[in-house]
C-alpha cells in the first residue's frame, strides 16, 4: 500500500479538467483509490456469479466469455424494472449543477467524479445500445461501445461514489446518482466484480446475522465487556436479554457498535437508557445487524439480508421494532424494508411504553429510530438529565447522508443533542442538513487499502469541522451513523486531530442520571467529568 500523503499535499486540489476529451482519457487505477476485489468464498456463500481470485489492478479480470451479453441484458432488464433508471438515462441536460456538489469531485478534482460524468459513463453505453440517435450518430451523440476498458472505468468510479444523494438535491430533475451507482454496482456484480470490503460483510451477515461475523456467544461476550465498563462508571449492573420471546420490543442496531470504539460507547448508551426506562426489550443474535451491505451490492441481496428483521420480530412475537443509530440502515428501513419484506401486519403500530406516544409516522413499517424515541422521552420529561456532565465537550452535529436525504430526520437528533449538551455549534449551513457532506467512506468503501480516496472524499466534511473547531473550539463531532463513527474517527485524526467522534446516545448516557447510580466521576470513556476536574484543580 502506498503511503498516504500529508494533509498539506492532499488538500492541494486542481479542479481543471484534462486536455483530452473524457471518452479519450483512459482510466488509470491509482493506488490508494480503490479496494481489494471480492474473494471467491464471499461470493460463493451467497451464490453470486463468477467467484474467482482476481485483483483489480491486473489486466485480466477473468470475466466470463459472454460478459458483454450479460451486461447488456442486465441493463435492458433494469430499464424495464426501474423508471428512475430509464428516466435518468434520458433527461440529463448536462447543466453541471451537480458537478461541484460531490465530495469525491471536490476532494480529487477528477472530472469523472462529477456526478454528471459518473452517470455519462453508463449513459454513453445506454445511448449506443438502446437509443436510435446513439446507434446512428455514435460518438457525435455521446455514445460509445462497451469494452473491457469501459467496464473497468465503471468499476473504478462506481466504487468512488458513496450513494450520498447530495447531487440529487441540486439537480433540477432530481436525477439521483445514488440510483445510477446502485444499478451500476448491480451490473458489475453480475460479473463477480464486487469489492471484498462489501462482499465479506455480506456473506458474514447472511450466515451469521451481522457484517462483522460475530457469532452468538461473541455478541454476548462483547456486550459483557460493555456492561463491565458501565458498572465501573455507574455502579449499576445491567442484564440485557437476547432472543427473548414475548418481549415488547426488538432492538436492532448496526453490529459495528458492538465491536470498536467509539461505536461501543453508543451501544453502552442504549443499554443504559433502556435499563433506566425499564424497557421490555430484547436483542437478537440472528437479526444482529441493522446495516445492510447488501444494499451496496444488489437490490436482491439487500432484501435477503433485510428479511431477518421482520422474520425475527415475528418469531419472537414482539409488538414493534426499535432501531439504533445508523445512516444507510435507515435509508433501507424507511424506503425499502416495508416494500421488500412487508406488510408487517403481525406487529402493532409502535407506541412508546414510557410516554404513550404513538409513532404514526411509522405505522406501516413499524420501526422507530432511537433518536425519534429519545426525543419523545425528553419532550415528555421522562429523563433526568445533567448536561453539565458533557461540559468538557464542544459539539457539532454531522447529518448522515441517508438519514438527511433518504428519510428527512434532521430535527429529532438536534433536539436530543441540545438537551444533553450545553455547547453545540452548527457547521456552515451549506454543509449540513440536506446539504450535508458524506464522511467519504460510506457504501462499503471504509476499507484500509483505499485511504487516499477516503481522506480525499471526506475532505469537504473535515473542512467544515475544522471551521467550527477553529472558530468555536469544537472538539467533538456527534452523529447517528455507525459507519460515520468508524470512519470519521480516521478522518478527524488525519485532517482535524483535535476533534473526536461520538454517537448521540453516548452523550445521552453521559448526561442521564440513573436511578440508584453512584456518583459518577468519569464519562463512558473513563475520562474525568468536568466537575471532578474542577475539584482536582482547586485541590
Amino acid at each position: 500500500m502506498a503511503k498516504l500523503p500529508k494533509p498539506e499535499e492532499l488538500s492541494k486540489i486542481d479542479l481543471t479538467p484534462p486536455k483530452t476529451d473524457w471518452m479519450d482519457t483512459p482510466v488509470v487505477f491509482k493506488e490508494g483509490m480503490f479496494c481489494h476485489g471480492s474473494k471467491p468464498k464471499s461470493l460463493e456463500i451467497v451464490d453470486f456469479p463468477n467467484p474467482r481470485e482476481w485483483r483489480p489492478a491486473d489486466a485480466d479480470w477473468k470475466l466470463p466469455e459472454n460478459w458483454k451479453e450479460i451486461l447488456l441484458e442486465g441493463i435492458a432488464d433494469r430499464l424495464k424494472k426501474y423508471r428512475s433508471f430509464r428516466l435518468f438515462m434520458d433527461i440529463c441536460v448536462r447543466c453541471g449543477a451537480c458537478a461541484d456538489k460531490c465530495h469525491f469531485f471536490i476532494g480529487t478534482g477528477d472530472p469523472k467524479n462529477m456526478p454528471v460524468l459518473r452517470a455519462e459513463l453508463i449513459r454513453s453505453v445506454y445511448r449506443k445500445e438502446f437509443t436510435t440517435a446513439g446507434r446512428i450518430f455514435g460518438k457525435m451523440a455521446g455514445a460509445r461501445e462497451l469494452t473491457v476498458d469501459v467496464l473497468k472505468e465503471w468499476w473504478y468510479y462506481f466504487y468512488q461514489c458513496t450513494e450520498c444523494r447530495r447531487c440529487s438535491v441540486f439537480c433540477p430533475y432530481g436525477i439521483d446518482q445514488a440510483e445510477i451507482t446502485m444499478i451500476g454496482r448491480e451490473l458489475l456484480n453480475l460479473l463477480g466484480l464486487n469489492i471484498e470490503w462489501i462482499a465479506g460483510p455480506v456473506s458474514n451477515c447472511y450466515m451469521k446475522g451481522n457484517h462483522l461475523g460475530l457469532e452468538p456467544h461473541t455478541i454476548i461476550g462483547n456486550l459483557e465487556y460493555m456492561l463491565d465498563d458501565i458498572e465501573t462508571v455507574t455502579g449499576k449492573r445491567i442484564k440485557p436479554t437476547f432472543n427473548r420471546k414475548g418481549a415488547e420490543i426488538l432492538f436492532v442496531t448496526p453490529s459495528g457498535d458492538l465491536f470498536a470504539d467509539p461505536g461501543t460507547y453508543t451501544a453502552m448508551g442504549y443499554l443504559m437508557l433502556f435499563e433506566e426506562l425499564g424497557l421490555d426489550y430484547t436483542w437478537s443474535t440472528y437479526a444482529s445487524e441493522g446495516g445492510n451491505f447488501g444494499f451496496f451490492t444488489s437490490n436482491e441481496m439487500a432484501k435477503r439480508l433485510n428479511s431477518k428483521i421482520y422474520a425475527e420480530a415475528k418469531r419472537l412475537g414482539v409488538k414493534w421494532i426499535l432501531g439504533g443509530e445508523c445512516g444507510h440502515m435507515w435509508r433501507v428501513l424507511s424506503q425499502y424494508m416495508d416494500t421488500w419484506n412487508g406488510p408487517a401486519d403481525f406487529l402493532e403500530v409502535p407506541k412508546s411504553p414510557i410516554t404513550g406516544t404513538v409513532f404514526e409516522n411509522a405505522k406501516s413499517m413499524k420501526m422507530v429510530h432511537v433518536a425519534e424515541f429519545t426525543a419523545d422521552l425528553i419532550k415528555n420529561n421522562k429523563l433526568k438529565l445533567d448536561p453539565k456532565r458533557n461540559d468538557h465537550l464542544k459539539v457539532t452535529w454531522h447529518d448522515s447522508c441517508n438519514v438527511a436525504r433518504g428519510m428527512g430526520m434532521l430535527e429529532e437528533p438536534r433536539y436530543v443533542l441540545k438537551n444533553v449538551v450545553n455547547n453545540f455549534y452548527e457547521m456552515p449551513e451549506d454543509t449540513i442538513r440536506e446539504k450535508t457532506f458524506c464522511c467519504g467512506s460510506g457504501t462499503g468503501l471504509n476499507a484500509s487499502e483505499d485511504m487516499d480516496l477516503r481522506m480525499k472524499g471526506g475532505y469537504p466534511r473535515a473542512n467544515a469541522v475544522k471551521f467550527v473547531a477553529e472558530h468555536h473550539g469544537v472538539n467533538m463531532l456527534a452523529n447517528v451513523c455507525a459507519i460515520d463513527r468508524a470512519t470519521l474517527k480516521a478522518l478527524m485524526e488525519y485532517w482535524v486531530p483535535s476533534v473526536g467522534v461520538c454517537g448521540l446516545h453516548e452523550l445521552v448516557a453521559n448526561a442521564m442520571i440513573m436511578t440508584g447510580e453512584k456518583e459518577r466521576t468519569t464519562d463512558l470513556r473513563g475520562e474525568p467529568l468536568p466537575s471532578v476536574q474542577a475539584k482536582e484543580e482547586k485541590a
Binding site: 488538500s11 479538467p17 430499464l79 424495464k80 424494472k81 426501474y82 423508471r83 428516466l87 434520458d90 433527461i91 441536460v93 448536462r94 447543466c95 453541471g96 449543477a97 461541484d100 471536490i106 472530472p111 460524468l117 457525435m140 451523440a141 444523494r165 440529487s168 438535491v169 441540486f170 433540477p172 430533475y173 432530481g174 440510483e179 447472511y206 451469521k208 457469532e215 452468538p216 456467544h217 454476548i220 432472543n243 420471546k245 443474535t285 435477503r304 428479511s307 422474520a311 418469531r315 424506503q335 416495508d338 416494500t339 412487508g342 406488510p343 406516544t357 409513532f359 409516522n361 406501516s364 413499517m365 419532550k379 436525504r405 433518504g406 428527512g408 429529532e412 451549506d430 469537504p460 473542512n463
Partner: protein, 330 residues
C-alpha cells in the same frame, strides 16, 4: 470543436431552408409537408417516450428528502421539502417545474487556497434557465394568434404585457430580447466554465444554436424584413384546418424560421429536450416521503433465498446453548 460542429449544422439547416424555399415549387414542401411531418413526429415521439417511461414501474419510494420528515407532532415538518402527502408533492413539483426550485439551491464550490472550502452564491444558471424557459413559453403562447381566427383576450393580454414598454413599431417584445440573451448566456457558460465545457456534448450545443436560430429568424422577420403576417396567418390557419395553401407573399426568411422549428420538433423527442416531460416523472421528486406510514408496493417484488432462523440455529445451536441463549430445538 463540438460547439462549432453544432453551429455549422444549424447554419446548414438554415441554408437548406433558404435555398429550398427560394425555388417556387418547393414552398409547399417547406411550408406544409415538413411542418406536418415534424408535428406528427413530435407528438408520436413524445407519446412513445412517455409511455416507455411509464411502462417501467417505480418499485421503491425514493424521494430525495430536502427537509424535515413528518414525525412527532411537535417537530415542525417541512411540508414542501419532505412532503408527507399528495398535496405537498403537488406543491413541491409546482415549485420545481415553475420556478426551478432545486436549481435555485445552486452553489459554487471553491477549494481556493487549499485551506478552506467555500460555498458561494451561484444563481446565474437558475436565473438564465428560468428566463429562457419562461420567455420561450410566452413566445409560444403569443404565436397562438396565428392559429386562431379571433385572437382570444388572454393572448392579447400576454402580448400587451410583453410589449408594455411601448417601444418601436411594431412594438418591441421583451421576451424576444430575454430569449436571445438567456440562450447566449447558456452558451457562453457552457464554453466558459471548464467543467461544464468538459461534460458538454454536441447534443448540448446543437439545441442551443437551433433555438437561437429560430429566435434570430423570428426577430429578423418582425423587426427588420417585416414579413407579411397576414399571409403567414393564412398559411397557419390553412395548416390547422387541414386545408393548407402557401401564399406567394411570404418571404423566404419565414421558411427558415419554420424549417428550424420543424427540425426542433423532430429533434425534441430524440434528445435531452425530453426533460420537459421527464421532470414530471422523476421519482425522487414526485413521491411523498410516507413510505413508513403507507406501504409502497413493488409490482415485481419476488421471493428471495434467505438464511432462516432455523438454519442459523442449526449452525450455532451448541454455541447458543453454551452462552445461555434460548433455542427452539434442544
Amino acid at each position: 470543436m463540438k460547439a462549432l460542429v453544432s453551429l455549422i449544422a444549424v447554419l446548414l439547416l438554415a441554408l437548406i431552408a433558404y435555398a429550398g424555399a427560394s425555388v417556387p415549387g418547393m414552398r409547399l414542401l417547406f411550408g406544409v409537408v415538413i411542418p406536418y411531418a415534424a408535428f406528427i413526429i413530435f407528438v408520436v415521439g413524445m407519446v412513445v417516450r412517455i409511455l416507455k417511461w411509464a411502462s417501467s414501474p417505480v418499485p421503491f419510494r425514493i424521494p430525495t428528502t430536502t427537509g424535515q420528515q413528518k414525525s412527532l407532532p411537535w417537530i415542525k415538518h417541512s411540508i414542501i421539502e419532505s412532503p408527507s402527502n399528495g398535496l405537498g408533492v403537488i406543491a413541491r413539483m409546482a415549485l420545481e417545474v415553475l420556478f426551478f426550485r432545486s436549481l435555485f439551491r445552486n452553489l459554487k464550490t471553491q477549494v481556493g487556497d487549499g485551506k478552506q472550502v467555500t460555498y458561494g452564491e451561484a444563481k446565474w444558471l437558475w436565473a438564465a434557465g428560468l428566463a429562457f424557459h419562461w420567455s420561450f413559453l410566452f413566445i409560444l403562447v403569443r404565436h397562438m394568434r396565428f392559429f386562431i381566427e379571433q385572437v382570444p383576450a388572454a393572448i392579447i393580454m400576454i402580448e400587451g404585457l410583453d410589449s408594455f414598454l411601448q417601444i418601436g413599431a411594431p412594438l418591441f417584445y421583451m421576451t424576444d430580447a430575454v430569449i436571445l440573451a438567456s440562450v447566449t448566456y447558456l452558451f457562453i457558460r457552457r464554453i466558459g466554465i471548464p467543467q461544464v465545457k468538459y461534460i458538454s456534448l454536441i447534443a448540448d450545443y446543437f439545441p442551443l444554436f437551433l433555438i437561437l436560430g429560430i429566435a434570430v429568424s423570428g426577430v429578423w422577420m418582425r423587426y427588420f424584413t417585416k414579413t407579411d403576417i397576414v399571409s403567414v396567418k393564412i398559411l397557419a390557419m390553412g395548416l390547422i384546418s387541414f386545408n393548407p395553401s402557401v401564399p406567394e407573399t411570404i418571404g423566404v426568411m419565414f421558411f427558415v424560421h419554420l424549417f428550424l422549428l420543424s427540425v426542433l420538433f423532430v429533434y425534441f423527442p430524440l434528445s435531452k429536450l425530453v426533460h420537459m416531460a421527464g421532470v414530471f416523472m422523476s421519482p425522487t421528486r414526485n413521491l411523498a416521503n410516507n413510505s413508513r406510514m403507507k406501504r409502497h408496493v413493488n409490482p415485481w417484488n419476488y421471493p428471495v433465498h434467505v438464511h432462516t432462523y432455523e438454519q442459523y440455529e442449526n449452525d450455532f445451536r451448541e454455541k447458543m446453548k453454551g452462552a445461555g441463549l434460548p433455542v427452539e430445538k434442544e
